[in-house]
């Protein structure tokens, strides 16, 4: 199909509109993060006086640095556990025939559908009683649970595409089912595991509701939650500059991540949609 000039122009305009709409708030945040406290409320979109003070401010206080560390730690641990468990479950879903298989898939999808807001209060009470409140495991456990359905769904699509004969060959070569999985199937599913890990990590990194509900201090508070606890120099000053700077700091890794892995992420989200 040849595209005519009016079509090209039309699409270009539409694309530009979308890009501008998306970029305006983003650029605004970046712009705010470079403004001085006094000029935050001035009418200019771009800062008139550039300053690093917002960044130096947040990066020298433990109210932001510690949550950043929590975010990385909790995200990494939850991702690791979720991918290991999900790959085993996905392997079973893709390869084995067992009673209750459809129930398992159904239940895991159900968990993904469940509105998090409905879970926040019960989880808060449960974790308080169990002593998990305001600890790393207190966030890691629900994150693993929410990451699993996504992981199982994505990984089983990858496993389904690995020829079954490879596994038969490994068995005939003398491998136990576990060896066949670890030495033949898992290495071949590695791209799928990386994709799943990225998706689960992004979810953990961005999660706000549970993070704000299940934490109380910087001992376990993650970066998005910490943002909401920023205070200004006085009770009446809103710390817009600091919040903007922190938002930029936690967004940059994600942008780099997504740009770098965008093909993988799309492949992971859509694989299994057409095939399998």
């Amino acid at each position: 199909m040849a595209t005519t000039t009016p079509q090209k122009v039309g699409w270009s305009v539409a694309n530009i509109v979308v890009i501008v709409l998306v970029l305006i708030p983003l650029v605004w945040i970046i712009s705010l993060s470079f403004k001085t406290t006094g000029s935050i409320t001035d009418p200019s979109y771009f800062p008139t006086h550039w300053t690093w003070s917002n960044y130096s401010g947040i990066l020298t206080t433990s109210t932001f640095l510690r949550p950043l560390l929590n975010s990385i730690g909790i995200g990494a641990i939850a991702t690791f556990i979720a991918v290991v468990l999900a790959s085993m479950a996905a392997y079973a879903v893709a390869r084995l025939r067992f009673p209750g298989k459809s129930v398992l898939i159904g239940v895991s999808l159900l968990i993904a559908m469940f509105p998090a807001i409905a879970l926040a209060t019960p989880l808060f009470n449960i974790e308080r009683i169990l002593g998990l409140f305001n600890t790393w495991p207190g966030l890691i456990i629900p994150y693993v649970a929410t990451g699993l359905p996504l992981g199982i769904y994505t990984l089983s699509a990858f496993f389904r595409e690995i020829p079954w004969e490879l596994e038969k060959a490994a068995k005939v070569d003398g491998a136990t089912p576990f060896q066949a999985f670890v030495r033949v199937i898992a290495p071949l599913a590695a791209p799928g595991m990386v994709t799943t890990a990225i998706l689960v990590f992004l979810f953990c990194w961005n999660e706000f509701l549970l993070a704000i509900t299940l934490t109380a201090t910087t001992a376990s508070r993650t970066a998005p939650a910490a943002l909401s606890f920023f205070t200004g120099s006085s009770q009446f000053a809103v710390p817009t500059g600091s919040i903007s700077a922190a938002a930029v700091v936690i967004t940059i890794p994600i942008i780099i991540f997504v740009l770098f892995f965008q093909r993988r992420i799309v492949a992971g989200l859509t694989s299994g949609a057409v095939k399998g």
Partner: protein, 432 residues
């Protein structure tokens, strides 16, 4: 090294489908046995059961004297080559070939030595450090073979290992497989749907149809003395011509003419009722151009008029196709063979006869001519059971079908009725 014995082996899938039904076969140590049949006949399932990749529903499987029904593949000491080769894509050729030994915790220098030895035999030495994705189809096939031979197993199992190669390479590799098996002297079970491959490779060939073993015999025996309609139609290319016939006093009435019942044919058909309907089978090479038959052989056959539709000259032989009112033959066996060959069911090819003639023939397309058919080679089948009533049919002087020598189509010179009705027991010991 080991013999493989299958006794009453049956495979029934959970959905109730019977894939293999009461399969009995003794495979001797060092023997090369082919399982052949159309798609869905249960040959691959049988192989998978020997490998341990499929459970055996009932019956007993012994490898090297041990019952292995319940053993996992890794404890059976067998190596398998898959149709898709199933090479591990993330490993180099060297790692692929050494994987089994590595799992068996063989010392690294022994693995290297064995892999290099196998690579030398298979001409893969310069490719050892490449990944399978960078190899050609033929090289991948050899890596798959190499992966099997480095283990020095009790038996090789091959599941259509050549079907992914192009025609020329397939013929070449076929010879290599045969040579390799002779050299290693290891028991080999080989599955194929290609009857030419089956006849050229095997010490013995087992023909299967819908889960049932039809006949086990040497290739020549299968060709000369098929036990039933299915084997007769499956083995041989082009396949046997079938036509309806009627047994009468002293003669067999067919669309080609009346065939006198004498000699071996008389002995074979002695017990059959006069007047019954039969199916007559004649191989293409049993026809000859009437003008080329020496006078002293004429009495061994009958001549009949034919108008030739198509002549295909292959240099060393000529195939001619002619149509004749022969009476349509319809049985389940033949319908299945037609399906397998990709022909429409009950297609119009039924009444077209193929004849393989001496290349010296001057017959041309559209010509009305006279053909001669050697009646000593006629097969007569029971239309109800498909059983061959003439199993003692004398083997002609025709050579093995895959290697047609120049004079292959020449009529037999030997005296009539030489071979007596030798029994083709389904578990006969191999000719070794």
């Amino acid at each position: 090294m080991a013999e493989i014995i299958l006794e009453h082996v049956t495979k029934r899938f959970p959905d109730g489908a019977l894939a293999v039904d009461d399969f009995n076969l003794d495979i001797a140590d060092g023997e090369f046995v082919i399982l052949v049949g159309p798609s869905g006949c249960g040959k691959s399932t049988t192989l998978n059961m020997i490998a341990g990749l499929e459970d055996i529903s009932s019956g007993e499987l012994r490898i090297g004297g041990q019952v292995v029904n319940q053993k996992s593949p890794k404890d059976r000491d067998i190596a398998m080559v898959f149709q898709s080769y199933a090479l591990y894509p993330h490993m180099t050729v060297r790692e692929n070939m050494g994987f089994a030994l590595k799992l068996a915790k063989t010392p690294r220098d022994v693995i290297n030595q064995k892999v290099e030895e196998a690579a030398r035999i298979l001409d893969l030495t310069q490719h050892l450090d490449r990944k399978p994705a960078n190899l050609s189809g033929g090289q991948r096939q050899r890596v798959a073979m190499g992966r099997a031979i480095v283990r020095d197993p009790a038996a090789f199992l091959m599941d259509e290992p050549l079907s992914n190669l192009d025609a020329k390479l397939r013929v070449q590799t076929r010879t290599e497989v045969s040579r390799l098996q002779k050299r290693l002297g290891t028991t080999m079970v080989y599955v194929t749907h290609d009857q030419v491959e089956a006849l050229t490779l095997g010490d013995r060939v087992a023909v299967m149809r819908s889960g049932l073993l039809q006949q086990v015999a040497s290739p020549q025996e299968l060709y000369d003395r098929p036990v039933n309609l299915f084997v007769a139609g499956f083995i041989g290319s082009p396949s046997m011509n079938f036509m309806s016939g009627a047994l009468e006093e002293g003669k067999l009435r067919t669309g080609l003419g009346d065939i006198p019942i004498a000699g071996q044919l008389q002995r074979d058909l002695a017990g059959s009722k006069v007047g019954r309907d039969v199916i007559v089978g004649i191989r293409p090479e049993n026809f000859e151009d009437g003008a080329l038959v020496p006078a002293e052989h004429r009495h061994n056959g009958i001549t009949f008029p034919a108008s030739i539709d198509v002549v295909e000259s292959l240099g060393s032989e000529k195939f001619v196709y002619f149509s004749k009112e022969l009476g349509t033959v319809e049985t389940a066996e033949l319908a299945e063979l037609a399906r397998d060959a990709g022909r429409a069911e009950g297609g119009a090819t039924e009444e077209t006869v193929v004849a393989r003639l001496d290349p010296a023939t001057t017959i041309t397309e559209g010509q009305d001519t006279e053909l001669w058919v050697d009646v000593r080679a006629v097969h007569v089948f029971d239309p109800e059971t498909g059983r061959n009533l003439t199993r003692g049919t004398d083997s002609r002087a025709t050579a093995a079908p895959a290697a047609p020598p120049a004079s292959a189509a020449a009529p037999a010179a030997g005296p009539d009725d030489s071979a007596a009705g030798q029994d083709t027991g389904s578990t006969a010991t191999p000719p070794r």
